[in-house]
Amino acid sequence: MSFYLVLTVNSITFGGLLFLLSAGFSLIFGLMRIPNLTHGSLFMIGAYVGASLVVGLVGAKLNFWLAALLATAVVAFVGALVERLLLRRLPGNEMAQVLVTLGLSFMAADFCLMVWGGDPLSVPTPAGLGGFVRLGVMVFPLYRLAIIAIAVAIAVALWLLLDRTRIGAMIRAGVDDPDMARVVGIRVSQLFTLVFALGAGLAGFAGIIGGPILSVYPGLDQDMLPLALVVVILGGSGSLLGSFVGSLIVGFIYNFGQALLPELAYFVLFLPMLLVLLMRPQGLFGRHVP
């Protein structure tokens, strides 16, 4: 019994981390229809930069949350640069978008190897969250529970942004009908840069927040990108609710699937993804059929 409870709680916490990871991808793909295959690299860069700040590789050791904010800002800036300099020239050119985002991910991976070397970096759990919550014989790490809180907070913040602010309205207009939006005076291209930066920043944020659980190592980008893709497919892109629910679903499938069906561990994510795609190509919550 306690085994299932542990798995359930972990599914939710892992789902929280997945939400942070995939929200950015979903946003960018939903708005700009760009499959941002650099997403995993942005996650990794955020993790490396944040870890370096926390561990004190460049100067003094920083507070974890401060480091996370700085890392997010750095990655958001990188995202903005990428959008303005590269992606802006390729509207609708899917092949070129794939080529440039993959090319950038090669560069990013090698760059991280050059700067941080091949050895993994451990990210210490932030102060105060290193303990446990005990429930009878079960033990839940505090930090993982904190991730749920963070994921919910980010989800709410994003929802408020999209639903309650002018910028959010402009973004939604840009999603639904970019040409019309331009006609009414919305600066769609600047909006795109903003959204891409936001998506990238979310990825970087997820990287450093996930650091105490996943650590940072070469290859992290390739490990995390397929997960983001699975979440976005299952939940449907462009839908915040879809991202959130998709993350939870993937969290559950991942935990229960690996624990109860170890023979199928390699397929535990892609088989359901395939089945969903066959039955509902737009994903569970997607609005338009791709």
Binding site: N10, L121, F132, V139, P218, D223, Y254, Q258
Partner: protein, 413 residues
């Protein structure tokens, strides 16, 4: 960062060496006058780069110490990046053998890379020394041109199991390791010796190679008094963190990669008390190890681990073999036999020699992670001498069994 500068220098030196080698005209080897060409197959890009970069550091350190000479003969070092996949390894070994005409090859890193080129290497009669643990290379499908100066995948786990049963008095152990051959062979070796000493493996868990979160597996660890893990690369870091985060306190034992000295700076307090058994240990008190460690720390600002030490020792073996052969390596068959007859008394891993299948017989060290002056270190607690790939088993009986796999040895119900 000072670390960056020294690696850049090393890279520049390597690139210069490679460029020089590439633009050479192939000259017929005029015995001792021509330099001895030493090739290295390693991984410098991608996820396996961690071990690969260290491998090169180990060789370069040795060459520097010897002034780029093995005895009287100058050494030309050519390093090749395989990219960590078998096709790349095949291409690079062809480059080393066909284009650069190397005399001996060190590496590759991974077992699947080694298996991809074993036939080629035997065909071209090129002696090769690798750390890759693929057991059958020196057991059921031996390659006469192959030497392994480190250990087979299970060779370090046999003494670990012995220690776990006799000293730690563990009786029921859950094994957890990655779902591939290196994992199977390590855990199989542990299981065989552990169960022969009165212990029992109660469960075997095999997370896939790419598993960001081990918690679904860690949640299954129960009903035992110890855990044996066999993770490699950066996975031990993640595993120990998630293991501790799950609140588990069973003692953890592991092998050569799970407790690698090079990872000690990255581990946190969750690794305290972990036992590992490795063919190399940082605190080995021999002259050559002290020199080796000092050189690594000076040049690369890092503590060497299993990979760097393994290649340093491999280079030492080639050096000794070449000197024993009077500086001549043209007769490949004879050279390989000479290499296998090398018997070194003082290396960073202690005394070593080779068995008739080309695998090392040497010391294995059981260490425990402790905190010294605020830093985590591996402290050697026991040394097993003269360990061969067959442990205490009779060679024929051992080879009659199938190679360790996911289901062999089977779980006792």
């Amino acid at each position: 960062m000072a670390r960056k500068i020294s690696r850049r220098t090393m890279m520049a030196g390597t690139a210069a060496g490679v460029a020089a080698a590439a633009f050479r005209f192939p000259t017929p080897a005029i015995a001792q006058a021509a330099p001895f060409k030493l090739g290295l197959l390693t991984v410098k890009t991608g996820p396996l780069a961690q071990g690969g970069i260290q491998m090169e550091q180990g060789v370069v350190t040795y060459l520097k110490e010897k002034g780029n000479k093995f005895g009287d003969r100058k050494v030309e070092f050519i390093s090749a990046d395989t990219g960590g996949n078998p096709a790349g390894t095949k291409t690079k070994v062809q480059e080393l053998v066909e284009r650069d005409k190397v005399d001996t090859i060190l590496g590759p890193l991974a077992a699947f890379e080694l298996l991809a080129i074993t036939d080629y290497v035997a065909q071209h009669k090129t002696p090769m020394l690798s750390l890759a643990g693929a057991e059958d290379m020196t057991q059921r499908k031996p390659n006469p041109y192959f030497l392994r100066p480190s250990a087979t995948s299970s060779q370090a786990m046999h003494p670990m199991a012995d220690f776990a049963a006799k000293e730690l008095k563990l009786k029921k152990v859950v094994t957890i390791s990655e779902d591939f051959a290196f994992g199977y062979e390590q855990m199989g070796g542990f299981q065989q010796v552990f169960e022969d000493n009165g212990g029992r493996i109660v469960n075997k868990l095999w997370p896939p190679l790419v598993t960001p979160d081990y918690t679904p597996y860690i949640a299954q660890i129960s009903d035992c008094d110890g855990v044996c893990q066999g993770f490699a690369g950066s996975n031990p870091l993640r595993f120990m963190k998630q293991y501790a985060a799950a609140g588990l306190k069973y003692p953890v034992v592991t092998g050569e990669t799970g407790g690698d000295d090079a990872l000690m700076t990255a581990f946190g307090d969750e690794a305290l008390g972990m036992y590992s058994c490795c063919p190399y240990t940082l605190d080995l008190d021999t002259d050559s190890n002290k020199r080796f460690v000092a050189a690594m720390q000076k040049e690369y600002k890092t503590d060497p681990g299993f990979y760097a030490a393994g290649l340093y020792v491999a280079a030492a073996v080639v050096d000794a073999g070449l000197q024993k052969a009077g500086g001549k390596a043209d007769d490949k068959e004879a050279f390989v036999k000479t290499l296998r007859s090398v018997d070194l008394k003082d290396t960073p891993r202690g005394p070593i020699k080779f068995d008739h299948l080309g695998n090392v017989i040497g010391d294995f060290f059981v260490r425990r992670v402790e905190k010294v002056n605020g830093k985590l270190v591996n402290k050697t607690v026991k040394t097993y001498h003269n360990v061969s790939q067959f442990w205490t088993y009779d060679e024929k009986k051992y080879l009659a069994n199938p190679v360790y796999s996911r289901n062999y040895p089977p779980l006792k119900s």
